[in-house]
Point group: C2
Chain length 227, copies 2
């Protein structure tokens, strides 16, 4: 699980400071499935980058998998991230010179998995997201939704304890989005993976047991939808 | 308006050929507002790149604003495009070293508009999409939805006769998406702009008077929704 207390983050451009996160408190138990919604520019990606140890808050406490990470140096943060966290970036961030299969291997290569074994697992993961017939395509030879599915496969191939997904269905048609959500739900209920999903799609949020909303830099939990 | 007859397009990677468009026929009258839906990877972006003169089909006829463009060279295609077409790319394609306002100026600079006048029009367009307070931000200082709105402003600033929008609301929350659609509808009904929108969102498609669906490389017009 993870716990955030009083997390603040501002950006400064020249003389102007924009306060984006204004004291975020959040407790996520292991095995939770949680959605985060909020207006464009309200700080969702900023919050997820901090939770995923990709960025540091200006102040506040952050505990991940039982460790207080506020004092960790960059190496310790990336070791903890590589061991526990899978990340689906909003802009996918695929490596343009690698094929789909090679992109999905990247998290395994970081851990020292042998290439043959990494490719086998990458291929299996890409088949699970319906991309078995595009293994050798590079990102510029894939459609928007296909790139997104490669990004999802890369986030899952390392069997992370925590999955952070930033609008994972944004570029997908309704059927493909539904298949993706079924896969994430299966990982959550079947393997106990903790899942945090940023989304603008209410049908995605409705599938999550816990639903948060970010507004004016603060986080509020929403009551469960009337079924 | 525009007319496509028998448009075909295949991609080849090594020994494998993927036939994406298999004989597309499409007639769009000036002032039409049309949506295009279809599964991820079905050829929507490929089709829009051809309609917008950014790519050439393998075969077929293409008439835009009364001209048969099949024989045009690259310079003639880009002159026609810069004069008539506004494009919202699926991946935004903002220039990373320019600010939001400078990015929106680009189509006007191409036409030789003086810098002061271009910046004035860019600022007005960015205010219309709710980005008046981010004029000096560069793309990496904007959120996903904010980048999308800059891309929309850039497509509209040149007052094109034809607007091609590839998932223009994909990164937007419901309220911002609604505001964007209202702006596009106002341009269509108020100024007679022809609008083609690729979308995965049925609430966006429902706002369009004509709705197409692409499947197995062919295009089929959908009957109007029951109101
Ligand atoms: N340069 C390329 N080389 C080979 N195949 C390509 C190339 N570009 C696209 N493709 C393939 O062409 C097909 C159509 O891609 P396109 O981008 O038009 O799909 P799309 O309908 O826009 O999908 P999405 O909704 O995911 O954006 C895909 O299957 C894709 O893999
Ligand atoms: N490097 C930066 N410098 C200055 N401001 C920034 C920077 N990065 C982000 N911002 C600002 O921080 C705010 C939050 O951005 P963030 O990307 O977290 O929004 P978001 O909720 O993910 O929005 P979206 O739904 O559009 O993706 C935005 O208003 C944005 O302009
Ligand atoms: Mg975001
Ligand atoms: Mg596309």
């Amino acid at each position: 699980g993870l716990r955030l207390v009083g997390i603040r983050k501002s950006y400064r451009i020249g003389p102007v400071t924009t306060e984006v996160l204004r004291g975020i408190d959040l407790e996520v138990a292991a095995g939770d499935m949680m959605s985060i919604m909020g207006p464009s520019g309200s700080g969702k990606t900023t919050l997820m980058n901090i939770i995923g140890l990709l960025d540091r808050p200006d102040s506040g406490n952050h505990v991940l998998e039982g460790r207080d990470v506020s004092g960790f140096d960059d190496d310790a943060l990336s070791r903890l991230r590589n061991a526990h966290v899978g990340f689906v970036f909003q802009a996918f961030h695929l490596l343009s010179r690698l094929t789909a299969a090679e992109n999905v291997c990247v998290p395994l290569v970081y851990r020292g998995t042998r290439r043959k074994e990494a490719l086998r697992r990458a291929r299996a993961m890409l088949e699970q997201v319906g991309m078995g017939d595009r293994l050798e395509h590079r990102p510029d030879q894939l459609s928007g939704g296909q790139k997104q599915r490669v990004a999802i496969a890369r986030a899952l191939v390392g069997e992370p304890a925590l999955l952070l997904a930033d609008e994972p269905t944004g570029a997908l048609d309704a059927d493909t989005a539904e298949e993706t959500m079924r896969l994430l739900l299966e990982l959550n209920t079947g393997q106990g993976v903790t899942v945090l999903i940023i989304t603008h799609d209410p049908t995605v949020a409705r599938r999550c047991a816990r639903r948060m909303r970010i507004e004016n830099g603060r986080l509020r939990e929403q009551a469960a939808f009337g079924i």
